[in-house]
């Protein structure tokens, strides 16, 4: 991306757009055996932990259903909820800024920092600030951003980009991290080993004095409660608490879809998120604050509300479902494609199944050869839907966005009509025998889902019955009964 310009707009690479289409990037990633080993080990661990702590919750499905409804309500009431949130934050001493796109958001943040005179700012891990290319914009303004989350620090020291939403350095193993620390951190002893405990201790020493002295911190947010103006940051290491508590100025950058209607909704979301994200019953630290509290924490607080393509996604009645996402990464960890190619192959700060449906919508260039290739980075196996704590029908959105991509590529920038989309998707599926096989399997998966799971067809279906796909597709039957004969 060029200087915080609207991501992907120019056709240049940036936080949401890689240098090459997914198939090319994936082919190279697949050749990296070290990467595949690192990923396989880490995703296997996460999957096992998640399965264990989800399995012990007797009302998990009721929580998912409530989570889905809460997040759906948030998207349906988005403008009104944002106004309420703004009023509450302002009433409690905060300042609220709005930004149409990445460039405007980074400009607002740079201005907030410049007003304090600070030359260095601490950052809490935040996907939204990665999305808007904030670090590049700060550096251009002569302000040094210091990532304080361990994984983000690793990514920053390596001059890397995040490859996972929750564990951004998942592609690095302990030996690589040891070398990075020895090379870049003066606090690292010459005899530094590769024990994760030892490596974490170096990060603690490195950041301690910065936490105690920094005048400004920048954070993201996991949830923003409209009715109370309360912001929520979920974390593990305590770097979040440090940044949200010790500096005198706090700038929080938030994608507008992070708002939730009411305080009580945290009942649900604070159960779904930690178990889905890191496989913990509860993450070590969660901080909540409302505006400014005299005598406790930053006395100057800015909240920056970023659109960055979210309003465009909202305008697509199918695509908007992606805005329900709470960034837990459960879909990445169960995805057979992600596990093999890793996050960088997607070329976006949002990789994996959720990234494949979010990225082309946020960039607004569905027909682009790079971002438009992402919805095709899936076998439509349905594991992502099974894992999603807010029941986003990712396979359905992938198929929908494949249609959008086809239509977009054919028609340039003219928005395609719904029928063009449907035919585009059908044409793509039927153009290739293996795709048709997947589609048949996907349709059978659909047998388990209510017809309401097909919003594009909902009106059409009101007067028609959807033929129930057979338990076994013709192709599967053929393969089973004719095995070895052809």
């Amino acid at each position: 991306m060029s200087a915080g310009g609207p991501a992907g707009r120019s056709g240049a690479h940036g936080p949401l757009r890689g240098r090459e289409p997914f198939p090319d990037a994936a082919r190279r990633a697949l050749a990296d055996t070290q990467l595949r080993q690192n990923l396989a080990r880490a995703t296997r661990t996460i999957r096992a932990r998640r399965a264990e702590v989800v399995g012990e919750v007797p009302d998990w499905e009721a929580l998912r259903e409530a989570g889905r409804a809460i997040r759906a309500e948030a998207t349906q009431r988005l403008p009104e909820l944002l106004e309420t949130l703004e009023a509450q934050v302002v009433a409690r001493g905060g300042t609220v800024h709005w930004a149409r796109d990445a460039a405007e958001a980074t400009r607002v943040v740079v201005n907030c920092v410049q007003a304090t005179g600070a030359r260095e700012v601490l950052k809490v891990k935040s996907m939204t600030t990665q999305e808007i290319g904030l670090n590049t914009a700060l550096e251009r303004a002569g302000i040094r951003p210091v990532e304080t989350d361990l994984a983000e620090l690793i990514v920053q020291l390596a001059g890397d980009t995040p490859s996972h939403i929750v564990v951004p350095a998942i592609h690095r193993n302990r030996e690589e991290i040891r070398q990075l620390f020895r090379q870049h951190l003066p606090e690292a002893p010459a005899a530094l080993g590769d024990d994760p405990q030892e490596l974490a201790a170096v990060a603690r020493r490195h950041l301690r004095q910065k936490f105690l002295r920094a005048p400004v911190a920048i954070s993201g947010v996991n949830f923003a409660v409209a009715e109370t103006g309360t912001l929520v940051v979920v974390e593990s290491e305590g770097n979040g608490r440090m940044c949200l508590t010790l500096p005198s100025t706090l700038v929080t950058v938030m994608g507008i879809e992070k708002v939730i209607p009411r305080w009580r909704d945290l009942d649900v979301l604070l159960q779904l998120l930690p178990r889905s994200a890191t496989g913990e019953r509860m993450n070590p630290y969660t901080s909540m604050w409302t505006g400014v509290t005299p005598g406790d924490g930053p006395q100057t607080f800015h909240l920056v509300l970023v659109d960055g393509g979210r309003s465009r996604a909202l305008a697509d009645p199918i695509g908007r479902e992606a805005l329900r996402c709470i960034r837990c990464s459960a879909c990445l960890n169960v995805c057979p494609v992600f596990e093999r190619v890793g996050g960088h192959a997607y070329g976006s700060v949002y990789p994996g199944p959720i990234g494949a449906i979010l990225t082309p919508q946020l960039t607004g260039r569905p027909g682009d050869r790079v971002t438009g290739s992402l919805p095709f980075a899936s076998t439509l196996c349905g594991a992502c839907l099974d894992a999603c704590p807010v029941l986003i029908d990712i396979p359905q959105l992938l198929v929908h966005l494949r249609g959008v991509a086809r239509a977009g590529a054919r028609q340039g920038r003219r928005p395609p009509s719904p029928s063009t989309l449907a035919m585009g998707a059908a044409a793509w599926v039927m153009a290739d025998g293996s795709r048709l096989g997947w589609a048949g399997r996907a349709a059978r998966l659909g047998r388990r889902l209510p017809a309401a799971g097909l919003p594009p067809l909902a009106r059409w279906l009101r007067t028609r019955d959807l033929p129930t796909p057979p338990p076994e597709t013709f192709r599967a039957w053929w393969a089973r009964t004719r095995r070895g004969r052809s």
Binding site: L78, H97, R204, T245, P284, G297, L314
Partner: protein, 217 residues
Amino acid sequence: MVGADPARPVVNARTVVLGRLRRALQPGVVPEPIVRAYRQAGPSPPGAPALLDRLQARLLDLGAGVRRTAPDTVAEVIAALLAARGATTVVVPAGLPRTFVPGAVVDAADRPAPTLDQVDLVVTGCAVAIAETGTLVLDGSPDQGRRALTLVPDWHIAVVAAARVVETLPEAIARLDPTRPLTFISGPSATSDIEFRRVEGVHGPRTLDVILVTTGG
């Protein structure tokens, strides 16, 4: 609202974004009601012995220490912990009973937070504890103090009254005041960022001890 850049007033972005969002939504669509079929509370009332056992087990799992004691022996338990670790400087919030740690420094609003780095230990109360997840919640009440107090020192002892122990997260959410600064603490600070192996003790207090105060003795 503050327009950070006078050349492009921020209020303009607000109008544009809200306009885009309103155009994106079909008018008159009423969101479906939220069905809260999940557990709003566990079967045990706050402070029930089963809850204390569960909280203790979860805290131990998370790497925290746990002691149980009657109200009149809290000071003795703290003194024993202090002696065992050899802590010399202790800070407490102004609202913590003075008898808990005789000789402790009382935190003052004008004390710069970085100086808390020279303190060995902080002892506080606790607003609510959640048994199911092993979580303590601090809400900045006078017995818990400002957030920096429980963050900068490397050792935190939380004194938890049995009556404040609930079973589930929704029970805790219902009891909390969202306008106060809140900190949910589930064990000592930790990270899983390296190969997804859990490592305890990063930036927050590396040692967490919980004293459960039971009225039944």
